[in-house]
């Protein structure tokens, strides 16, 4: 039986009078690649920020891998990996120094072997002694993935992971996400507004609109449920127009 990896109940976040999230209740099962879709400002990043304990919710609860984000934030952080949108590192340090620092922060006492193992998995060896300042956006994104999985987390959060990447970078990242899920068994929670990527990588989707979750189902069921629509893009627009 598959367990729940992430569950939120009436999750709400207000910034002053503005409700960025409004009573979002959601379950993501272990082993899923979940894509959270929505327009800019729909509340996707706020959701990920709460689930990664970077933000506190105004009300409601969220549990990640069995740890409550409010009551046991350290437990949540131990069991997740996180790749923020536009991931940044210490530019003056080498890739190895950066990964070593974040590995140790994640509790890995001697990270050298693990760094090598992860870079092998990502097929990204040979750049360890290169300073981060010299890295392209696509290379930074791969280092970002490496730092996120160094401690072998159960759940991986990716915030707009393909943002700003060229087509080669997008394809490489897509393949990496799929391998992380199928080979390492990680549950992946991904924010995106690129629907083509969702079709190719996600097993289930949710749609946020103005802070409310208006749709949640498996990708397979979604495509079956809307036979009149040719693509996920049309389904997304259709659901949005119906809910409006």
């Amino acid at each position: 039986m598959t367990d729940i990896a992430i569950t939120t109940t009436d999750l709400t976040k207000h910034y002053g009078d503005v409700a960025a999230l409004d009573s979002v209740s959601l379950d993501v099962m272990e082993g899923e690649v979940f894509g959270l879709l929505g327009h800019n400002g729909a509340g996707k990043t706020t959701t990920v920020s709460i689930l990664t304990t970077l933000l506190e919710p105004t009300s409601g609860t969220a549990v990640v891998n069995g740890h409550d984000v409010a009551a046991d934030s350290a437990g949540v952080r131990r069991s997740i990996g996180y790749l923020p949108e536009n991931v940044q590192f210490y530019d003056g340090l080498t890739m190895f120094e950066n990964l070593s620092f974040f590995g140790r922060l994640s509790g890995i006492k001697k990270p050298a072997d693990r760094i090598h193992e992860v870079l092998e998995f990502l097929d990204f060896t040979g750049h360890e002694s290169q300073r981060m300042a010299t890295f392209s956006k696509g290379m930074r994104q791969r280092v970002g993935i490496a730092q996120a999985i160094l401690h072998d987390p159960a759940v991986l959060f990716l915030d707009e992971p393909t943002s700003g990447l060229d087509p080669t970078g997008v394809r490489m990242l897509r393949e990496t996400i799929t391998r992380l899920n199928t080979e390492l068994g990680m549950t992946i929670f991904m924010n995106t507004h690129l629907l083509a990527e969702v079709t190719k990588t996600c097993t289930s989707i949710g749609i946020l609109r103005e802070g409310r979750l208006i749709y949640r189902d498996s990708l397979e069921q979604t495509l079956l449920s809307f036979p009149a629509q040719d693509s996920l893009e049309e389904i997304y627009l259709h659901i949005g127009s119906v809910q409006a």
């Binding site: 970077l54 952080r77 131990r78 991931v87 940044q88 210490y90 730092q147």
Partner: protein, 301 residues
């Protein structure tokens, strides 16, 4: 290795690589050595005048430096700690958070299994450790400089007093590091993060002592006896209110006692040291002003 020491080690690594921090270190070391040279030149001039006077008048006038401690020549280092050391502490403290916020790594750090408290305390320990290295180097440079200008090494007791002075300086700089850290973590822009703590420095180094010791204005820069030359009630009240928080004055007094300066009255040194330690405790407690929300905010130029 706990995350506190991991962050601290990272801080030391950055401080050793940053040009500004290294430049300030060199300036501080240079001033420490120059202080001894200035002290020696001052003594030498007075002694020459004394020798000339004795030779011309044939009268045995007491030599003002006959019984002074050789540590008297490093008197100016006290002022350099207050002026340059405190500024150095503020800049290094502020740049610590500016670096992380500007490079955008705070998001990653805070998503790791480390608490904000470990992160902040790690930074404090790292910056303080780096300042400890600077002061240890300054202590060694001063000890050698005094040996050279006095043509004799310091005795064991005098060496301990010199060491005590630099330990006191290290403790004294902690509130300035904390002020820099808080500004670096909470300011919306890089320029504010550097300017705001400099204003606080000006207040503590110049304004508060000026107001609090207005009854004894000559004590502003040099450590002199704190005896009040006036009994005016206004000055007395002013002094009573502002003197406890004028911790640069406490530092100057305790440092003067440690270095056995001629004009310094040791009375009240214990109380001044207590005031100084209270300021250290308050500044460490003030680090609670650094919140997750604050350090996650983007930093503008």
């Amino acid at each position: 290795m706990s995350n506190v020491f991991l962050v601290a080690r990272q801080e030391i690594r950055f401080a050793l690589r940053e040009r500004l921090a290294v430049a300030l270190l060199v300036i501080f070391l240079g001033m420490a050595v120059v202080s001894s040279a200035i002290g020696w030149a001052s003594h030498h001039t007075v002694t020459r005048v004394y020798d000339l006077t004795v030779a011309q008048t044939g009268r045995a006038i007491p030599n003002p430096f006959a019984d002074t401690s050789p540590l008297e020549v490093v008197k100016n280092t006290i002022i350099y700690v207050v002026l340059i050391g405190a500024l150095l502490a503020i800049v290094v403290g502020a740049r610590s958070f500016i670096r992380d916020r500007r490079s955008g790594v705070t998001e990653l750090i805070l998503s790791r299994p480390t608490s904000l408290r470990s992160y902040v305390i790690g930074k404090l320990i790292g910056v303080q450790a780096w300042l400890g290295l600077v002061l240890a180097a300054a202590a060694a440079a001063t000890w050698i400089a005094v040996w050279l200008v006095e043509s004799a090494p310091l005795s064991g007791g005098q060496s301990l007093r010199l060491l005590g002075f630099f330990v006191l300086a290290w403790v004294f700089l902690l509130p300035f590091v904390a002020i820099g850290l808080i500004a670096g973590a909470r300011s919306g822009s890089e320029s504010t993060a550097l300017l705001a703590p400099v204003l606080v420095w000006v207040a503590f180094v110049f304004v508060l002592p000026q107001l609090g010791t207005a009854q004894n204005p000559t004590s502003l820069l040099n450590p002199v006896p704190s005896a009040a030359p006036t009994g005016d009630l206004f000055f007395k009240i002013n002094h009573a209110v502002l003197q406890p928080i004028s911790f640069t004055e406490h530092f100057k007094h305790v440092a003067g006692v440690l270095l056995q300066l001629r004009d310094i009255d040791p009375a009240g040194a214990g109380r001044d040291l207590a005031f100084l330690l209270v300021m250290v405790a308050v500044s460490v407690a003030a680090l609670a002003l650094i919140t997750r929300t604050a350090v996650r905010r983007p930093l503008y130029a």
